[in-house]
Amino acid sequence: MLQDNSVNPLAGEKYFPPADYFLGLAQRILSSGVNTRIVLENRGEVSLFPARYEYSADIADMAEFFQTPAAQFKTSSLGPTEKPQLPKHVGELLWQAAFHASQGRLVEGISKYDVVQFRRWPNLPHLPKTANTARICALLTRHPMTIMLVHRQLGIDKEEVYSVYSAAHSAGIASMVSQNPQAVASDVPEAALEDTSGKTGLFRSLFSKISGL
């Protein structure tokens, strides 16, 4: 597991470079267009089919696999006509890889002051997620805002937002509205935000009930 402590001096936050992990390897293979098998000895393997935008995988421990340094993976080319046995959407693989690699950090190249939005919802039942992932998706599919404001608006840890946003960005469902603006209309001071965390009794009870199912 990498302990990357690289710090962006402009934002004072920790970032992770995709190239250090499976994520960067997968992105490079997708760009190359060559069907490729990626193996981590005794831990699992992934077969990528860029033209089909599909993959198949056999992985014992997702978090360990996707947090392993990229240098430890071995790759080999597959035939151009080969097909996955149980095909899955590559977007799901990229979400999984980025979510686990993130470990509470933003993916390199993104600032917490970027105004972002989600174009659609991820396929959450098939993906790793945090307790508030659905709330983050609900907010960002409806309102473009800075990553920092998501953390404030929802009253959740910024590390949680960083992991979910990094996954969504890598999976291609997030887009940047404007980059690192000096002043963002929607980015109001924390004290100015209405305290809506005290949801009505019904919503609080429903969240509690369904979360506990």
Binding site: L124, C137, K199, L202
Partner: protein, 186 residues
């Protein structure tokens, strides 16, 4: 009409409405099933003719009622009755039917007014994908939703799995959560 504490499960015959409600209901689902006839009998022995009913019991004695609408078009007079004042909608689409995207459009259109009244509190579950994985079906569902100006959750789910139905309901609640919508906080 004041918002009632009820969630509507809609979708074509065999899409998993009864099963999904059963996965999470605190009571045995009250069904109105009858022996299927005509083409429905080819898909399942029994089908819902009026509604399915389940309940989520909450702290303090509150209840959220779960209604499953009948899937056959000829019972669609029940759709409007059941959906009046609902807080949210779960539309289930069977990926194995001949035209799942057409089904999606049919149900979005049929429930368009009550969905709009709920503030677009809608989630889509695409079922029976386990053995028939068209990896781009969800992309096409999202394209159709975008064309209908709906940016709502669309998940692949198995109605037999409580965890999958739980994710649908958590997403629906996230849409209803006042902190995720400025219009709701205003």
């Amino acid at each position: 009409m004041a918002m009632e504490h009820k969630i509507i499960f809609a979708g074509p015959v065999g899409s998993g409405k009864t099963t999904s409600i059963s996965s999470v209901s605190d009571i045995m689902v009250v069904g109105t099933e009858a022996k299927a006839s005509d083409d429905v009998a080819l898909r399942k022995a029994n089908t819902t003719v009026a509604m399915d009913y389940g309940v989520l019991n909450l702290e303090g004695g509150m209840k959220v009622h779960l209604y499953g609408t009948p899937g056959q078009d000829r019972f669609n007079f029940m759709w409007e009755i059941l959906s009046e004042g609902a807080m949210g909608f779960v539309i289930l689409i069977d990926s194995l039917r001949p035209d799942p995207l057409g089904d999606l459009e049919t149900y979005i259109k049929a429930f368009g007014k009550p969905i709009a009244k709920s503030g677009d509190a809608l989630v889509i579950g695409v079922t029976r994908t386990e053995n028939n994985r068209h990896t781009d079906l969800l992309d096409r569902v999202n394209e159709r939703l975008a064309a209908a100006k709906l940016t709502v959750p669309a998940f692949e789910v198995d109605g037999r799995k409580r965890e999958d139905v739980k994710q649908l309901l958590l997403a629906l609640l996230a849409l209803l959560d006042p902190t995720t919508s400025r219009s709701r906080t205003a």
